[in-house]
Each structure stands twice: as C-alpha cells, then as structure tokens.
Subunit: 147 residues, 2 copies
DNA sequence: TAGTATTGCTTAGGCGCATAACGTTAGCCG
DNA sequence: CGGCTAACGTTATGCGCCTAAGCAATACTA
C-alpha cells in the first residue's frame, strides 16, 4: 500500500477519534461527566454489578484506569463499591439510584450522538458501519492472539 | 434511532479509537515517539515549516497541546523552533535532519499499520473507508459551523 | 493616531489512558 | 500442608488532550 492511501486511512481514524471524543465531551459536560465515564455507567447499566477486573475487560481499559474512574464516580455518588463476599481482593462496583438516572440520560445523549454522527449517510452504510469498525478494531487489537 | 443501534455505533468508534491508538503506540515506541507526535512530524514533512497556530489547525488539536509536543520533540532533536521574522508573536517549527529521517521511518510504519488495519476487507470497502470516516468526523466536528 | 479587539503562544490544572512496581489474596500442586 | 504462581487492586509516573487565564504583538477602526 502506498503512503498516501495509508495516511488517508490512519489520519481519518485519528481525526475521527479526536472529534468524536470532543463531541462526546461537549454532550457529557452538562451531566458532569467526562468521556470514558459514560462507558462505565452504560456497562454497569447493561450488565449489572461487577468487579473491577471485569469492568476493565468490558471497557477495554487497563485496571488502573478503572480504579481512578470508579473512585471519581463514587465521589460523585453515581457508583458504589463494596468488597466482594467471595474474594477478599476484589471489589464489586454497582450503580446507585443517581447513577441509574444518569445512565438513562446518557442513553438519550448516546442516541443523539449516533444520529448526528451518521447524518446524511445511506442506511446501508450506516447498517454496515459497526461491522467495519469492529473489523478494524479486531485487526489492530493486540490484546488477543498476536499480543 | 434506538439505543442498541446507537450504542453499536458509538461503542465501535470508542473501541476503535482506543485500539488504534494503542497499536500506534506500540509501533511508535521503538522510535521513541508517542501517539500524536507522529502526526506532527508527518505534517511538517508534508507541508514544510509552519507556525504553531497552523500546526494546531492542521492537527486538529488545541494550541497548548502543540506547545508541549513541539517542546518535547525539540528536546529530542527532531524539530527546531525559531521566531518568525514577520510576526514577533509567532514561532516557526521545522524538521531537523534527525526529524526528517524519523519521518521516513514513521511513513513506513504508517503503511504497515494501515495494511494491518484493513486486513481481510474487500478493496471496495477499503477504498470507501476514508470517505465514510471523514463524513462522520465532519458531522461531529464542532469546530466549523455549529460550534 | 489612539483604543480596542484579535491573534499567537504559554502556564496551570485536570481527565483519561498507559506502564511499572507493589502488597494482598486465591488457587494450584508437590 | 507449605510454597509458588497467578489474579485483584492500588499507587506512582508520564503522555496527549483539554479548558481557563494571562501576556505580548498585531490588526482593525473610529
């Protein structure tokens, strides 16, 4: 592959990352959230209480990041952390009522953001989009196999 | 749009951002670079010397980020900063020989990364990819118009 | 020409993310 | 059992990115 094509792809991904995150930040600010935290809330809302290691895995983020994010969300009252009964090392994270309410608001924003993102694109393209993105993600994911 | 579809899109973008950046970091580490710096080098290599404000615009990044990145790349010897002759506020950034050599290495990595990213995807899809991504980027870009 | 707004850059502080190193608890196996 | 490895979580540190605030120089305009 020649450099121009490669650059077109890599740069497009880079810019998309920056802008999508920036837009997310703008939408989340009124809720008092920072990008990344919304994923944590949504994951807990989707799957229910879970220990940090599982959260780390679900979010695709390293454990220290989870430690700090949960600490901040806990300080904000959106999340509660309790020692796990079966494993004295682990700590279980769960949504508070406040967190659940916030998750609902995030969900609404999430829909707005997705609609805004794919505005003007043919339905076919939109339908195939997640598959394409996930394929790329899988290709560059060092977590499994290649490592 | 329902939440599941929206989540599929947003989450796909989020994960792609994380993984692509992580992969970039892995590839760049042997060169002593961190993700983001490669874009700066490539931009200078492509367009030639320019002031930081222009760099900031080209990279899609805020001025303070450029200040720190150029400072570090300057300390590493890859970039040189000189006061602009026509504007006493501005400072012109340009590649050193070392920086130019590094840019060539980055270009090679850039091709590898792009190939790896789109591995197994039909050529048609690959060809349309930058357009799709840029459309989304434009849709969520608060920089122009909507602001 | 004087006064004001704008532009270019920097500093300070904050967040998400990462890696490295550490203590603690669980699990495995000789 | 005792010991060794693996897993959970935390702290420390560093980077890119951001916003807010400030200083210096330029541009605009009355």
């Amino acid at each position: 592959m020649d450099f121009d094509q490669a650059d077109g792809i890599n740069q497009a991904i880079r810019r998309l990352s920056l802008r999508h995150r920036a837009r997310t930040a703008t939408l989340l600010t009124p809720l008092g959230l920072h990008p990344g935290q919304e994923a944590l809330l949504l994951e807990l809302d989707r799957t229910g209480p879970m220990i940090q290691a599982k959260l780390s895995d679900a979010l695709g983020v390293e454990p220290p990041s989870v430690t700090l994010m949960t600490r901040k969300l806990e300080a904000a009252g959106h999340v509660r952390r309790a020692p796990s009964p079966d494993d004295k090392r682990a700590s279980v994270v769960e949504l508070t009522d406040s967190g659940r309410a916030l998750a609902d608001q995030v969900k609404a924003l999430w829909c707005d953001l997705a609609e805004e993102s794919v505005a003007g694109m043919p339905a076919e393209t939109v339908a195939g989009l997640p598959g394409i993105l996930n394929t790329i993600t899988g290709n560059v994911d060092a977590r499994r196999s290649t490592a």
